[in-house]
């Protein structure tokens, strides 16, 4: 009951005309960001972050989270109409979405995608509303060892859920931690890793890294492919929308399954992308039309979109309650909170009720606004994609440069952005994941300070991370995730030479 009261209060906060306008602006900007190559949720929010410094934190987070919802919606448009996933989490949407567009059912696919995104987000927000306060209350009892073990779990999950070479994942992560360590050590005041360069005194700012890695890196990748956009036109009218809506209830089982997968994958830092693939895979296996997947099945659009949105939304749960973001975009939002002077974590629910419940209310409203905006404005967004690349590319470089500069009003950051861009390009091509690197850069200082405090408590004894059932099970889980690639390889090796020929 307490939650419901707080939620209604939150609606009162979010429903001011000013915030509503910000919501629609945010969604529209978000969809544009999601549609444009080279701009995505993470760097889009990063670039727009400085614009919100003059707003109140509540209005700012409403606008930024709406940009995030918008980017989640926007990814579906490019996947379905152009077979180009605007965002990594919409790759799975192309499998059935694009064939549908080829058959002239683009409107149906888009409506299905948007509606199921909305459903996924709504379920995740409902879960968020009731689960977040509990998690926060629970986390209030956390001490430094517990926090460090949660950090450990976050990072080890990347190894456990990642598909690539585990050593590359860890290497990318450690580079992030190393970059976070650069600058003045706040505890002892000593300079670390600055090598007498005054520019490095304040360290690497993660926003600059995000803009470079994801923005410039993505532009370089797009250029390489020599993009020529040839898309299908989208006709959405109320009739198509209503007809698609009539079909949707048939796929309720897929929706529920995808919601669960999405919520779970969003909370543990795997994020929206693996959630969408997993959900698509499961739907293909379970559905009775499974064999037809890939030829333009509505169900094949519903499954990944629902999961991606549910995951994207629930990624905010650990960010708000524990201060640990589940995705790069959530990490950028976390950085925003810090800049506005809010300390994410369990205390937020006690000290900043307006902010937290305003945010939760805006999740409901933002997704409704998002659904309206995308359903009515698809042709406009598709038109943006038809702007030729020679115009888009330099404009995005300019936007990125502005974004990088405004972080600290520092020209050095713009150069850093270019370096990060080349690094991002090379890492993408060599299969080093960028998300753990960014998260390590964001969380490096907090992870280090919780580690130091734990070490102080225990006087350097590592067994502090197994000192009670809570911290012990968290650490245990983390180690399990870390060694999972090794374990699964072992299991696979044990299974293959099994007698009986063809395995299952």
């Amino acid at each position: 009951m307490e939650e419901l009261n707080a939620l209604f209060h939150g609606f009162a906060v979010a429903l001011t005309p000013y915030n509503l306008v910000l919501m629609f602006i945010g969604i529209t900007l978000g969809v544009i960001i999601g549609v444009l190559p080279g701009l995505g949720g993470a760097n889009g929010v990063a670039i727009l972050l400085p614009l919100t410094f003059t707003m109140s934190p509540t209005s700012a987070i409403i606008m930024l989270s709406c940009i995030y919802w918008g980017a989640l919606f926007g990814g579906a448009i490019t996947s379905i109409l152009f077979n180009i996933p605007g965002e990594p989490w919409s790759v799975a949407t192309t499998f059935d979405g694009y064939p549908m567009a080829q058959q002239g059912r683009a409107g149906e696919a888009l409506t299905g995608a948007f509606t199921s995104s909305f459903v996924g987000a709504l379920v995740a927000v409902l879960m968020f509303t009731f689960l977040a306060p509990l998690v926060a209350k629970f986390a209030l009892q956390f001490g430094p060892p517990e926090f460090f073990s949660v950090y450990l779990l976050t990072f080890c999950s990347f190894v456990g859920t990642g598909k690539g070479n585990p050593f590359k994942i860890v290497a990318a992560m450690m580079l992030g931690f190393a970059m976070a360590a650069v600058g003045i050590d706040i505890v002892t005041g000593q300079l670390r890793l600055t090598f007498e360069f005054t520019e490095l005194l304040s360290g690497f700012h993660f926003l600059v890294a995000v803009i470079g890695l994801f923005g410039i890196g993505e532009i370089l990748l797009s250029m390489e492919e020599g993009l020529s956009f040839t898309g299908h036109s989208a006709k959405i009218n109320p009739k198509i929308v209503l007809e698609t809506w009539k079909k949707l209830p048939r796929y309720w089982a897929t929706s529920i399954r995808s919601c669960i997968i999405g919520c779970w994958m969003g909370i543990i830092p795997g994020g929206a992308t693996p959630a969408s693939f997993m959900s698509y895979g499961v739907a293909r296996k379970v559905s009775k039309d499974g064999a037809k997947f890939g030829t333009g099945q509505l169900e094949g659009v519903i499954a990944p979109e629902t999961a991606a949105h549910a995951a994207g939304t629930s990624a905010l749960l650990p960010m708000i309650t524990l201060g640990i973001p589940g995705s790069p975009t959530a990490a950028v939002l976390l950085g925003g909170l810090l800049i506005w002077g809010l300390q994410p974590g369990p205390l937020l629910f006690v000290e900043q009720k307006d902010f937290v419940w305003g945010l939760i209310a805006s999740m409901y409203l933002g997704n409704i606004a998002g659904l309206i905006v995308v359903l009515t404005m698809v042709p406009l967004f598709a038109a943006i994609l038809r702007v030729p690349f020679p115009i888009i590319a330099p404009v995005i470089v300019v936007i990125c440069a502005i974004g990088a500069f405004t972080v600290k009003n520092n020209m050095f950051d713009v150069w850093l952005m270019m370096v990060f861009g080349v690094v991002g390009y090379a890492f993408k091509k060599l299969d080093y994941p960028l998300a753990p690197m960014v998260l390590a850069l964001v969380l490096g200082d907090s992870a280090e300070s919780s580690f130091r405090q734990s070490m102080l408590i225990s006087q350097g004894d590592m067994t502090v991370f197994f000192s009670n059932w809570l911290v012990g099970s968290l650490t245990g889980l983390a180690l399990f995730a870390l060694f999972w690639p090794l374990l699964s390889a072992l299991i696979a090796r044990l299974r293959t030479p099994a007698p009986g020929g063809a395995p299952g």
Binding site: F167, M174, L175, L193, M223, N409
Partner: protein, 168 residues
Amino acid sequence: MSQDHDSGRGGTRTIVLDVAVAAIIFALGALVAWDSHRLGSGWSTDGPQTGYFPFYIGLITCICGAVVFVQGLLKLGTDKSVFVTHEQLKQVLVILVPSTIYVLGVQFIGIYVASAIFIGLFMRIAGHYTWLRSAAVGLGVSICTFVMFEIWFKIPLPKGPLENLLGY
């Protein structure tokens, strides 16, 4: 992507770059560990020293770099996939080189003039648009950003001689 004629025609092989990047990562890790060790990576009277945490970060980086390096060396003979073909590299440089010059320009002549020139020239040369359209888009974007940042949001961006002349 990497058909046979691509690898025949050259371009850097992925695995060569993979090994090189692993070596760089190893070196970075060593640098981090060395500097942390210099600052003190053990215990002082009041707890862990400054380099305590980063030292291990550097160490793990080294280990990962070394493993990826060895993995790469083992595949050096067999893996023939191409990192970028010459054609792709040309495409990448088409945007990378002008962008770098652009950032240099931002430093000296301010972001607004540099942006207008960058967008205009890029459209003209890479996109073969008419001078008129190129100039219009370049100037348009520049003026929009100027209005948005300097006037609405009052966020100062790098400015050069032209803005000084106009009194900003």
